[in-house]
């Protein structure tokens, strides 16, 4: 079951399969990639971070659960949580249906955006990375 995953080129990706979208200088959106949602399959529960919480890069900021598995969401960048996607509490399947749109997880005010963006992968590099994961 080899699949073509959607990997928008304007996003940056982490090794833990989160994506970051720079909305403007002061805010970024965070979510999990098409590959991650497909691997987890059928999400049935999402634990969101608290608004106002400060997260550092690679810190666990929440959890997604499918019928079969529990998976941590690692913050791909450091910053303060400005907003979370409350819709996901009742409709976690939005992440499966639209991982880069309606399935966004958190809006964050970044701390070291420029430096940390460099440590993330662009869509080409991420594509190669997930191909190696099999």
């Amino acid at each position: 079951m080899k699949k073509d995953y959607k990997l928008p080129s304007e996003l940056r990706y982490s090794k833990e399969h989160e994506w970051v979208k720079v909305v403007d200088n002061g805010t970024v959106l965070i979510g999990i990639s098409d590959y991650a949602q497909d691997q987890l399959h059928e999400l049935v529960y999402v634990e969101l971070p608290e608004v106002g919480r400060e997260v550092s890069r690679m810190e666990v900021m929440g959890t997604v659960e499918s019928v079969k598995a529990v998976s941590d969401i690692y913050s791909p960048i450091s910053g303060v949580i400005l907003e979370v996607n409350e819709e996901l509490s009742n409709s976690p399947e939005l992440i499966n249906q639209d991982p880069y749109g309606k399935g966004w997880i958190a809006k964050v005010k970044p701390k070291n955006l420029e430096t940390e963006l460099k440590e993330l992968m662009d869509s080409e590099a991420y594509k190669k990375y997930i191909e190696k994961q099999g």
Partner: protein, 377 residues
């Protein structure tokens, strides 16, 4: 060690997502756990369960031997009927749960868990000395499917009208389009359904099994039949409150604790392994008992999570998301004083204690709406 495969391996690989289950490469889902689960609750689904163990026990003293090995009363079992029963050790701990069918006066067919295939066979052989019985593991010569759901009967009837006559826990032999099939009206989902044994299908010659699988999918097409993986098998049995060996029961748990008292026949005319220990449990009572818990907050309990009241009182042995109830449900063991219905409990999920309560769990769902006893029409 290389992974074991069933006759349907090519089909599973092409259509499903494979996982390792008890050393077998099996599909966890094809389309997804939830749609497959719902197909079985609302219509019909088909599972490959060839990984399970199947053994024939024959001989003049086979009945006597199995009465000694099993907690159930084998002597009263009529030909072509089955019995859900347990095999216990001397301490009364559960070695396995299984279905024993009587095929004739001196021939029995045992169907047990994939994870216990080697252990059960060894246990049977080791204890058979003096009984002069033959114990023949036919797991690799007989494929096994499970057709489950309220439309299972109508589906199978398209291939073989006679199956409508089959009562729960009865087994019969049929000729279906040139194939030699044994069908039993049993299952592991809480729904009506059949466990189907395709005879004379060695693993090296998978075609007959593959053909029968395809025939069943075609027969169920107008009911929206779905091939189902082990993921749905697990959520369905959990909702039905059925034990999974290795999770909810094992050699350290006795049938009284597991609320399986009803399959232990202490008063049957014959001695059996574990009887003495179980008589003592019957006299003295238990210190923990299996319960069902439904969460009242959103969250998903899983195996190993702690169950709390004022303090920690037990551990979840099986848990998950219930597609039928759309909430987190669990089974676990707690001291009897906490087992009354509606007792408030909490389940520790990561760093939070989520509210839940003790509920009826055999099954968790409303039996007038779901399951084989549901109101018809």
């Amino acid at each position: 060690m290389s992974m074991r495969r069933t006759h349907l391996y090519q089909y599973h690989r092409e259509h499903g997502k494979l996982i390792d289950f008890a050393g077998f490469e099996m599909p966890v889902w094809y389309e997804g756990v939830i749609p497959e689960h719902q197909a079985v609750r609302n219509s019909v689904g088909l599972f490959d369960v060839t990984h399970m163990g199947r053994t024939l026990v024959k001989g003049e003293r086979a009945e006597e031997f199995l009465d000694y090995m099993l907690t159930g009363e084998v002597s009263t079992l009529e030909p072509m009927k089955g019995l859900y029963t347990l095999m216990c050790n001397e301490r009364g701990g559960i070695i396995d749960d299984l279905i024993t069918y009587r095929l004739s006066d001196d021939e029995f067919f045992l169907v047990y868990n994939a994870s216990n295939r080697e252990k059960d066979l060894r246990w049977l052989e080791r204890n058979s000395q003096g009984f002069d019985v033959s114990i023949q593991d036919v797991s690799d010569q007989v494929a096994m499917f499970s057709l489950q759901g309220p439309k299972a009967e109508e589906t199978l009837k398209k291939l073989c009208g006679e199956v409508a006559e089959l009562k729960r826990f009865q087994i019969s032999r049929y000729r279906i389009q040139g194939l030699d099939i044994m069908a039993a009206r049993t299952g592991y989902t809480g729904e009506d359904g059949f466990e189907l044994f395709i005879l004379d299908t060695p693993l090296q010659e998978p075609w007959k099994a593959v053909r029968f699988w395809e025939m069943l999918l075609e027969a169920g097409e107008r009911f929206g039949i779905k091939p189902c993986g082990l993921g749905a098998r697990d959520t369905l049995r959990l909702e039905a409150g059925l034990c999974l060996y290795g999770n909810d029961i094992d050699e350290e748990i006795n049938p009284f604790e597991a609320r399986l008292r009803w399959v232990v026949k202490l008063e049957k005319g014959r001695d059996f392994i574990g009887r003495e220990a179980l008589m003592r449990v019957a006299r003295e009572g238990v210190r923990r008992t299996r319960v069902g818990i439904a969460l009242e907050e959103r969250g998903i309990p899983r195996k190993g999570y702690e169950i709390w009241n004022e303090a920690m009182i037990g551990v979840v042995t099986s848990g998950g998301y219930s597609p039928t109830l759309d909430k987190g449900i669990a089974m676990g063991y707690v001291p009897p004083e906490y087992s009354k219905l509606n007792t408030p409990v909490r389940i520790k999920i990561r760093d939070r204690l989520l509210k839940g309560k003790i509920v009826k769990f055999h099954p968790f769902y409303n039996e007038s709406r779901y399951g084989w006893k549901r109101d018809k029409g």
